[in-house]
Symmetry: C2
Subunit: 569 residues, 2 copies
């Protein structure tokens, strides 16, 4: 389908062509008028998959999820006015989590600004310092130089989105009327592609690599710690090589893409390190850190307190080191840096930290404790979900409790890709993010989230329904904010429930009904397992829980691990 | 209830006390941890009404609605991270529509910034140039000077919010742990109120008033035109006085607060001016404009094309004049300026424009046309809703079609206060805005909106359910974006339905069920009237419509008016 020619269409097509050349394949649009040229250009572009999402906030999270899952730039496209402002939460998450989200906001032309024209506001630098790149593309003019500039800016924007560091970019795109249809005045403009900008990677400094290798070679008691990292690359192999050459155990969190692809990775460090004698006995003298900020506060605090020689490997030179505990920052692609370190290290003399033994004991203790469960507790839901997902599938976990539960209690599982919005750790846009990841890949996708996160992103649920997505939502419903029950405030004010617990009192099965999702309401573990096995279409697995009982259950599991660890190792 | 003392609590209480002193009475909070001191301070402050809304986007719109309906500063209070970014759409609407919305974002202290601490991002100037005032309040320190400064900044922020011009302000409020509970180290700090800052009004220049009066006194064929304006003040009386002294008819749109309080106001100008012979015959030689940008494009274009001597009265010096058609801008409080002009004008000699006659003919034509309706059309829903609301009640109308339908077809009604988000004309946050207006006043409140606006603000619906609000939602459901059917694009692409019409295919009755609202599904006018009569609790009046038929219906009503006007006046 080719739309009638006009100047807007010509410029919009060139823009979309250039974004595709830079790797974009997913465009998420919302209904609007001023964005018409861009929408039509996306619709006629064969390389682009176009998704219509009614709520711009959810639309941006769909694009975020797609970009996160694929590593390619993904477009969120809004009309003029407040529409683009709904992108802001996803933009901030993309900024912090290094996701190549390309925000496109249609705008009215210059001459309509500043004097009260309807639906018109200042969209320049709408997201302030929070994007890697901003440009206003100006309303199209019949000038070859303008067309070339437009293409070059689009290529540059994608290059900035792809980093390093990766992140969100914003293009503001004004159009004059007529927005569509032939305008009969289109001159012949020569139109050719912009220079392609190849994405570089950071390469760690050689002298610093030597220094790190020297320090590590002198320390037998070390750990390799992998935080959240989206890339679907060779880091598992690189980390295994590093572990073999150093003798260091690998502590890899669920969203590191290492945990479930490295069988020997330590899975129960959170519970192990909550056991004081173990935490003390396992204290490291060297730490090699990969990935972003750690989900386990216990692990982070244990590392910070260790006083160990710490090498922080940063793919893009971002520092995830709030305690300023690192000794050396190696800014460089994690895979290449890990292999380079592995090559340079001479295996230190002396005994390694016996994490494998502790992990085995913790596993046995937990298996026994979980075997005694009858109703699905929140930790058990996380565990069962990981157990139900086949290798190659994809799990999006919400921040707050789900990401912690998966990290702490899931144990081992098949090679599932685990994604989470751990940039700013919001619970917002989680259904939409998972939807974007599901749509942009052919992977089976599930999402684990709480009731508040679901109610916060009903727009994402509506989008999943409208787009006929294949997605399993596992909603742990404890009627409010479960994480607050773990904080001191829980016992400090008589208005805790009203102000922090915030029960919603709604029947979430009705949200499933609104979305036309297949509802499962398991009350037993076998029912839960059966529900998790189902695929095809939109599934809504509604697990009711209780916040107070959940705190108890966590404490009991921690006690089971402590007991299994005894005074060992 | 008084919370345990600590430094955070002391500073938070002083802040909330100062905001109350400046007139704030409504605080909308969302669950979070970092915001704990502020939440507790709001909860213990007797003057403050505290509402818990789970979704920060809807929360900010609830505060916007409250501030809009009361004219007082209203607070939206978020925890750290992306939470505050969800305020952005409401902030932008408040900026453009001049609403005193006070955004408070909790933050982590300085020492946790920049090195990957969880849920931490740069919140400085989060809303860029779009707020009237920004300040970072810094984490509390045991210094009297800091406490005095905090209070003074709070007073200043509210003063900036109250203008002129009114608008949103943003305070970023970092807290160190412990966030709550006694910290045992609270020094005795002298704490006294900040200077109260009295809100000024602009007073129009005397010489300019004389000039305007002179020009008007020379022109008998003039109109007074009132655009959207929230203030519940004496503008209706002032405009009537001006109309009497000039002989000019009053063309007042529904959201002007003049239309339904001035019986002689012309109600059918939109349809009258679509009738070319009337538009030509009624062409003015003078225009006096009040309020913000006009909803009727027909009216705006007719004014712009008139070449009339045009006085623009601007309460706060904002210019709503995209065609640069004004001859003179009188920046000054509208009420005082209208009375001042009325005093100075000498009634021009010659015949006034016969708008009253045209309005009467249009009314008769429409009454006959509506009397032939059996099913409720979209215009009829707007008309019946206004007819059903008693004087003193409140109607929030969504942008896009509802505000146009109310403006064009509602005709005369009781003295209903009509509010709309006409700053940037978004359809976002409309349920939440109406909810805020309902909660903050004792007025009976209804909201008229479309299906897309409802799906865009399911968070507002959830909030209405949780807060047990008394609110009637009238949802015109044409399964998609009705306004696009009025645009050229409707016939320009075969993918119109997919990309612009965007049918959702959802049964909105299930949204009502999720919210536990009382559902009405009227199929006839009597059923509609019965549904609109019901009060108490949350009512959901679900009226199904058809987009194509709606366009036809509008055309038919315009034709009925044209026929009633004939070749007259």
């Amino acid at each position: 389908m080719k739309e009638p020619d006009n100047l807007n269409a010509l410029f919009a097509r060139a823009l979309v062509d250039e974004l595709c050349a830079a790797g974009a394949r997913e465009a998420v649009i919302s209904p609007g008028s001023r964005s018409t040229p861009l929408v039509l250009a996306c619709a006629e572009e064969k390389r682009m998959k176009l998704r219509v999402v009614l709520d711009e906030r959810s639309a941006a999270f769909v694009a975020l999820g797609a970009a996160k899952a694929t590593g390619r730039p993904a477009l969120a496209l809004a009309t003029s006015g407040t529409a683009g402002a709904h992108f802001f939460p996803a933009i901030l998450e993309a900024e912090a989590a290094r996701v190549p989200l390309v925000a496109l906001t249609a705008d009215r032309p210059l001459e309509l600004h500043g004097f009260g024209a309807p639906q018109t506001m200042d969209q320049q630098h709408l997201f302030g310092t929070h994007v890697r790149f901003f440009a206003d593309l100006g309303a199209p003019e019949p000038l070859e130089a303008r067309l070339r500039h437009l293409r070059a800016v689009a290529a540059l924007a994608c290059s900035r989105a792809l980093g390093p560091p990766r992140g969100p970019v914003h293009l503001n795109v004004p159009y004059r009327e007529p927005l569509s249809g032939a305008d009969g005045a289109l001159p012949a403009l020569r139109d050719r592609p912009a220079p392609r900008i190849a994405t570089p990677r950071l390469s760690a400094d050689d002298a610093a690599l030597d220094e790190a290798a020297r320090e590590i070679s002198a320390r037998p008691r070390g750990v390799i710690v992998c935080g959240p990292r989206d890339a679907d690359d060779d880091l598992p192999d690189a980390v295994r090589a590093l572990s073999r050459s150093t003798g260091y155990p690998i502590l890899a969190e669920a969203a590191s893409q290492v945990r479930f692809r490295v069988p020997e990775a330590v899975a129960h460090y959170d519970a192990i390190l909550k056991h004081r004698p173990s935490a003390e006995a396992l204290r490291p003298e060297a730490v090699i850190r990969f990935g972003a900020g750690l989900t386990s506060k216990t692990l982070q605090q244990w590392l910070d307190a260790s006083g160990a020689y710490t090498v922080l490997v940063s793919d893009d030179s971002a520092l995830f080191d709030p305690a300023h505990a690192a000794s050396l920052v190696l800014a460089g692609d994690a895979v290449a840096t890990a292999f380079a370190l592995a090559d340079r290290v001479v295996r230190p003399a002396g005994a390694s930290l016996p994490f494998a033994d502790a992990d085995q004991r913790a596993r046995s203790g937990l298996e026994a404790a979980f075997a005694r469960e009858e109703e699905p507790s929140e930790p058990a839901v996380a565990r069962e979900l990981l157990a139900a997902l086949p290798a190659g599938s994809q799990l999006f976990v919400s921040s707050s409790m789900p990401v912690r539960d998966v990290d702490a209690w899931a144990g081992r599982a098949a090679a599932v890709r685990v994604l989470a919005n751990r940039g700013v750790n919001g619970i917002d846009g989680i259904v939409a993010s998972a939807l974007g990841a599901a749509l942009a890949t052919s992977r089976r996708t599930a999402v684990l989230l709480g009731d508040l996160a679901l109610l916060h992103d009903l727009g994402g649920l509506v989008a999943a329904a409208r787009l006929g997505a294949e997605l399993t939502l596992v909603v742990v419903d404890n009627d409010g904010g479960g994480i607050f029950s773990f904080l001191p405030i829980a016992s400090q004010t008589p208005r805790f429930e009203e102000l922090f617990g915030t029960p919603h009192g709604l029947d979430l099965a009705r949200a499933a009904a609104l979305a036309g999702a297949r509802l499962h309401s398991p009350r037993t573990l076998p029912e839960l397992r059966a529900a998790l096995r189902e695929t095809g279409g939109l599934h809504f697995v509604h697990v009711r829980s209780d916040r107070a009982r959940n705190v108890e259950r966590h404490r009991a599991l921690e006690a089971a691990v402590a007991s299994a660890l005894g005074s060992a190792p």
